[in-house]
Amino acid sequence: MHTEFLMGNAAIAMGAVAAGLNLISGYPGTPSTEVLETTAKKNTGNIYVEWSVNEKAALELAAGAAYSGARTMVTMKQVGLNVASDPLMSLAYVGVKGGMVIMVADDPGPISSQTEQDTRHFAAFSKLPCFDPSSVQEAYDMIGDAFEYSEKYHTPVLFRPTTRVCHGYASINVKDIEEYLVNTPEGFIKDSSKWVIFPRLSYNNHIKIEQRNEELSDVFSQYDKNIIIPATDNSCKKGIATHGISYSYVMEALSGQNAPRIMKVATPFPFPEKLAVEFLSGLDEVLCIEELDPVIEKELTYICGKYGLSVKIRGKLTHDVKPAGENSCKSVSENLSAFSGLVPTKSVERATPPQLPVRPPVLCAGCPHRASFFAVKEAMKGKKTAFCGDIGCYTLGNAMPLDMVDTCLCMGAGVNITQGIGKIEPDTTCFAFVGDSTFFASAITGVVNAVYNQADMTLIVLDNSTTAMTGHQPHPGTGRTMMGEIVEKVDIEAVLHGIGVKTVETVNPLELSKAVDCVKRVSSEKGVKAIIFRSPCAVLIKPSTPVIVDENKCVQCKKCINSLGCPGIVLEEGKVCIEQSLCTGCGLCKQVCPTKAIMGGERDE
């Protein structure tokens, strides 16, 4: 044992490595990404690591390895599980041989997601055991337990941390390399009565699964991470039921104060029913402090009914706890003071501050997506258009002044949404914007659909040769894998041609007039056609020398600012100038300035 300062996601990775992990796969998504990345960094040499093309592929790969006796982990964010839900639901019936942990990070807030969905429901829905860690240390310890239970019960298990656990750092106790478990996979043993899902097998296994989950409910009532903490004052008739990071907020708020009885639920499914009955007995009232959905609250309400306990269960359903968004130290201490008279920390009275500047996230200075959006905007001036966006950095193209994202739903959706708009309003010029990673993950089938069903649309692939939003992971188009191999790139042009898209043009968006001409020409054709805007992510390349504004030529028309919104162009005492520390010298603003007042950048030399 030694101490290390680790991010929650790194702790999960290290815990899995220490538990004898053989294979890890996943698809990047905040807040889950660092689990796989840390595993790749800490690879003892015996672990196969892969960024799969999407979550469904990742889960199936991990399942195959687990059929072969490997200990496997698959990582994704909560919306990724929607993509992987097809194999998940069936795999629950088939089961595994080696331990398999499905790490799904939930994102209360949401801070960087489309939804506030609660993976604990997916656990109940798929009937798979679920672990919900409350701190970085617990996440480290619990991942080993998750593998043990998975292997013992021959079932994949869900491991569901939330953003604050994933991205929190703590100095924690971790195992030395000598203490790591080593798992040697037995290999895949053919047995079609086991690995081939048929209605008969599903029926038989369904019965077994229900029995197993009843057993697990009892087992989990003894699990050392499902706990009851007695009240400071024995006569107190109130209780708090909580989980995850909210448990930490509760403990933090109550430290040094009179605390009611507390129950921490580390396994929301199968719910530790016996432990809950013990917790509820003798209480009058319980407040459930949860994030996302009222899962514990509903379970406790059900248990009260089942056992005839007259305990009032309160929480989100009774409007005592807010229904959406993440909890905080502040919100929890307010909940506690309303419920049990806890004295909250007083905020300090200060004068009202001056108006603060807002800082919404924006595309980086020099980002090629800015040029791509601007080129399409210029080319389509005055036309009736639909710009369907997608998930990635380029969602930020919706901000003023670009304002180039009319819809955004989920990975790959824009390609099909734009077809739908076109079918109803044929006089609209329909575009779908998709990043390179998203293209491979889930847009290809959409293009097949468009070609087959005679859609009239222009696909714009924003190819910056990386998965930038989540921190630059490789993908099939980059020619690199997580095992460090250099491989043949999957060629986007060739894929599109292969599907039957006849016109596919590739252009550098930073050559503005060429890009605008290309958009005009290609979008005027009938049918499905594609433009690939290819220019590397600004963060990944060495910047050129920054540009400067010639004060004598600049007429202060502000066209550069008002059309591009590049953070590199700023106003200093009312005058346009370039923030030298930010400008990458991409040269886009030079091409927009009507008086050629912007100079420099490497292209001049």
């Binding site: 933090e252 007083k346 106003l571």
Partner: protein, 193 residues
């Protein structure tokens, strides 16, 4: 003794690295530490913060408003934004050099940081204002702002370690190429007040 520390500023200012150094220096003295910071979409030009707690019996890295011992503000408006977290008798160390948001340029905004500093001075007793930009220029690198802020924070006495101890941590964890430069920045900051 337990300390609640809040670092804040704008994406790209080196806040996350500073927070890591404070954590590493604390751990070197066997002081338990936890931290939490902004990650993801908001990092792109947005407000960035890092909560840091050192001491015993820690449950979570975040803390309530009105409980921070120290705020290290890398940017004036960001320090004001996070001020509700400061204890009544807490300390603020702030860089007076403002960073313009893109939206300010778009709206022809006039934000220049001055009124933020005035507000901080009027509302915080223990405040140290420094022009991080100028100090960096003096040292000869715009990349050492985080060391300047860290040095100033050590000087304030709110961190559980000394200048020499942080230098040791820097030597162990940061690229040795920049060791001399970083030490210079730390020393320079110490001399400021």
């Amino acid at each position: 003794m337990n300390k609640n520390i809040l670092l804040c500023g704008v994406g790209g200012q080196g806040i996350v690295l500073t927070s890591k150094l404070i954590a590493a220096a604390s751990m070197a003295k066997n002081i338990p530490v936890m931290s939490a910071e902004t990650i993801g979409m908001a990092q792109k030009g947005g407000s960035v913060f890092s909560f840091l707690k050192t001491g015993e019996n820690l449950y979570c890295p975040m803390f309530s408003e009105g409980t921070a011992d120290l705020i290290i503000g890398f940017e004036p408006a960001e320090a004001v934004r996070m001020l509700p977290y400061l204890k009544a008798d807490g300390t603020v160390i702030v860089n007076s050099h403002p960073i313009m948001p893109v939206t300010a340029a778009l709206n022809g905004g006039t934000y220049n940081g001055g009124e933020m500093i005035d507000y901080l001075k009027a509302n915080v007793k223990n405040i140290f204002v420094l022009d991080g930009d100028e100090v960096c220029r003096k040292i000869g690198s715009p990349k050492v702002l985080n060391m300047v802020m860290l040095g100033a924070a050590i000087k304030s006495g709110c961190l559980p370690f000394t200048l020499d101890e942080i230098k040791e941590t820097v030597q162990k964890t940061v690229n040795p190429k920049f060791y001399e430069l970083n030490c210079k920045a730390l020393d320079e900051a110490e001399k400021l007040f």
